[in-house]
């Protein structure tokens, strides 16, 4: 890399640099013996995220890579959803610890987790932003690992006391399966490098385009691409790499589950888009992925939707249900990935733009559903432990006992279902239209059937709070004493409704983000 190209690359990385600086500050502040300083962790993290978002929107130069418009859009989405998630994280760790300190115990920095928790949160989002800036396989590998490694720890430390056993179990499962997934895509990357002799994504694309003149797509390259996609499928929880999802989402505290449903999934989809772009998808020429790669994505999409939705029906635990629904939503987005960018003109036939828009919508509405769970708890029983609200029955009559939270759940569940005129509906339409434009009629039919299956369990989440009477035998669920958690719930519920008014603008921006690279004389010669 020459000095000039390094300089250009750093100009694209201001948001990540700011986030990293914020991470360092948070890591130190969380260890302060003064409560006021420790409390500043979240505001500082929020400020870093906000500044990073603004910088991403303003300073990102015109990109040259495979998807020149991707960076500003993806990074702004990350910082917006990240800010909403930050509100939800309040009080996740150190609750018992802070109570002990308040009752006069001296502060012991070894026993608190606040600094690590917020720092890892920011690290993970930094990794996610770096995924969007990736122009190299090495970069992509490191960015994916930077996204994932902190989440393993966040899951493990997310709950204390007796519930800690479950979050630790979740952490171990997540980590070990995650390491296997990482090894799989790493081996795939090695094969891709072996087939092309380069790790630069742009150079790889040019190599693949020059069939017969010392380039072209060899069997080795196909094998590498299949392994890479299978490994990255772990991040998006696609079948057959979805097995950890329900256990991990159930074991982790609800705010962290919400985080898991957005961050690794977004990183995974961005990586898949970048990887697939090297091998095919000349905008305007229909699907040009090699047959085997397309087949893998096709089968994965169909299975992921169906398995996710069918298993979600069987769940009585809301977190497990939302986990399987997160699997199903990955399947929906894979449909658009199979469809590819089409002519690349607008979101209606550009599957990549549809994915980017869906990731934003899904991040917000899913956050709302998890936020409602995070806002409620059963009062401590004889063992003095707070219990999370988990089963569908716990939501019974919520609109009467906690009207605001109940309605948030109703709105978010309807939006996840794709009920018009909520945001989820406008996010789902481009998935259908792009697949139809690409001629994937069978997949569209499977998608439609699955959307209908999903209605069954989402409507349970709507009917329980709205239509049922509160259970008189149980003490009513109480609010957790964290002000900013309901705020996160209301913000996401409001955005599900309000953003509909701006859906046109957002879709146009997503279309810009997935617009084709400028045709150069070089790539024309490749055709």
């Amino acid at each position: 890399m020459t000095m000039q190209s390094m300089h250009d690359k750093i100009l694209e990385l201001w948001p990540e640099l700011v986030l990293f600086a914020g991470t360092c500050v948070v890591m130190v502040m969380g260890l302060s013996p003064k409560l006021a300083v420790r409390r500043m962790c979240a505001p500082v993290a929020g400020a870093a995220l906000a500044v990073a978002g603004v910088l991403a929107a303003l300073t990102t130069p015109e990109g040259r890579g495979l998807l020149p418009g991707l960076m500003p859009f993806a990074k702004v989405v990350v910082s917006v959803v990240g800010l909403a998630m930050l509100l939800l994280l309040d009080g996740t760790v150190d609750r018992t610890e802070e109570r002990l300190i308040a009752s006069g115990q001296p502060f012991n920095p070894l026993r608190t987790n606040r600094a690590e928790f917020y720092a890892f949160f920011l690290f993970s989002l930094t990794g996610l932003m770096l995924c969007a800036s990736a122009n190299d396989l090495i970069w992509l590998f490191l960015a994916l690992e930077l996204t994932s490694l902190p989440t393993y720890i966040m899951v493990t430390i997310s709950r204390g006391g007796k519930a800690g056993a479950r979050s630790q179990e979740a952490g171990v499962k997540y980590f070990f399966l995650g390491a296997m997934g990482a090894a799989t895509f790493l081996f795939g990357f090695a094969l891709l490098y072996g087939a092309t002799g380069t790790t630069n994504l742009q150079a790889m694309k040019e190599f693949f385009a020059h069939a017969g003149e010392g380039g072209g797509i060899t069997d080795l390259a196909i094998a590498g691409m299949l392994m890479s996609l299978l490994g990255v499928a772990f991040k998006i929880a696609a079948v057959p790499m979805h097995l950890y999802t329900p256990d991990v989402y159930e074991g982790a505290a609800a705010p962290v589950s919400a985080f898991l449903a957005f961050t690794p999934k977004t990183a995974g989809f961005i990586s898949m888009i970048l990887l697939c772009s090297t091998m095919g998808w000349t905008h305007g020429a229909g699907h040009s992925l090699p047959d085997l790669v397309r087949l893998l994505l096709w089968v994965m999409a169909a299975l992921t939707m169906t398995v996710g939705n069918v298993l979600a029906i069987l769940q009585s635990n809301v977190k497990r249900m939302l986990a399987y629904s997160s699997v199903a939503h990955s399947g929906y987005m894979l449909v658009a990935l199979v469809a590819g960018p089409g002519s690349g003109r607008g979101i209606t036939d550009n599957g990549l733009a549809a994915i980017l828009f869906y990731l934003l919508s899904y991040g917000l509405m899913n956050l709302g559903a998890f936020a409602v769970l995070a806002c409620l708890e059963r009062r401590p029983g004889p063992d003095g432990e707070y219990r999370e609200i988990e089963t569908v029955d716990d939501l019974r009559g919520l609109c009467k006992t906690q009207p605001a939270l109940g309605w948030t759940m109703v709105v978010c569940a309807l939006s996840l279902l794709g009920f018009p005129p909520l945001l989820g509906f406008f996010a789902k339409v481009p998935l259908f239209t792009s697949a139809i434009a690409a001629g994937e009629i069978v997949l569209v039919v499977i998608l439609g059937v699955n959307a209908a299956i999903a209605a069954y369990y989402y409507l349970r989440l709507v009917a329980m709070p709205l239509l049922e009477e509160p259970d008189a035998t149980l003490p009513p669920a109480a609010r957790t004493p964290f002000v900013s958690r309901p705020l996160a719930a209301f913000i996401s519920a409001a955005s599900v409704v309000v953003l509909v008014a701006f859906a046109g603008t957002l879709m146009r921006e997503a279309g810009e983000a997935a617009k084709p690279p400028k045709a150069t004389g070089h790539s024309n010669a490749a055709k």
Partner: protein, 117 residues
């Protein structure tokens, strides 16, 4: 440069010159497969972790072999980063194993079976 070195030495019978890229790739693929099978069948957390480590190093071997084959340094650079990440993962894996042992006094993955589905 390396190719010219090999030409210069070609009059001499050098042991192991018949090693080709295929041999290295075979070792890498075998290691990856052993790691994957071990990961799926063994239940001891430390063995499972070693299996993922085996898979990582298999990729490392493939990278170095390809790097030599293409006569550029990208693959070798990649391996340095892979080693760093593998070290970070090792630190985490051992921390998690210690956590498990403190809670259950066992290293078996079977002990983590509270949640089912």
């Amino acid at each position: 440069m390396l190719a010219s070195w090999m030409l210069a030495q070609s009059d001499y019978p050098i042991p192991m010159t018949n090693l080709t890229l295929g041999h290295y790739l075979f070792v890498a693929a075998a290691m990856f497969a052993i790691g994957l099978i071990g990961f799926l069948t063994r239940r001891n957390l430390i063995i499972m972790f070693l299996c993922t480590e085996l898979m990582f190093q298999a990729a490392g071997i493939a990278l170095v072999a390809f790097s030599r084959y293409h006569l550029n340094h990208t693959g070798e650079t990649f391996v340095i980063f892979v080693l760093t990440v593998a070290a970070a993962e090792a630190a985490m894996a051992l921390a998690l194993v210690v956590l498990l042992f403190r809670r259950r006094e066992s290293l078996s993955a079977e002990e983590w079976g509270q949640m089912k589905g």
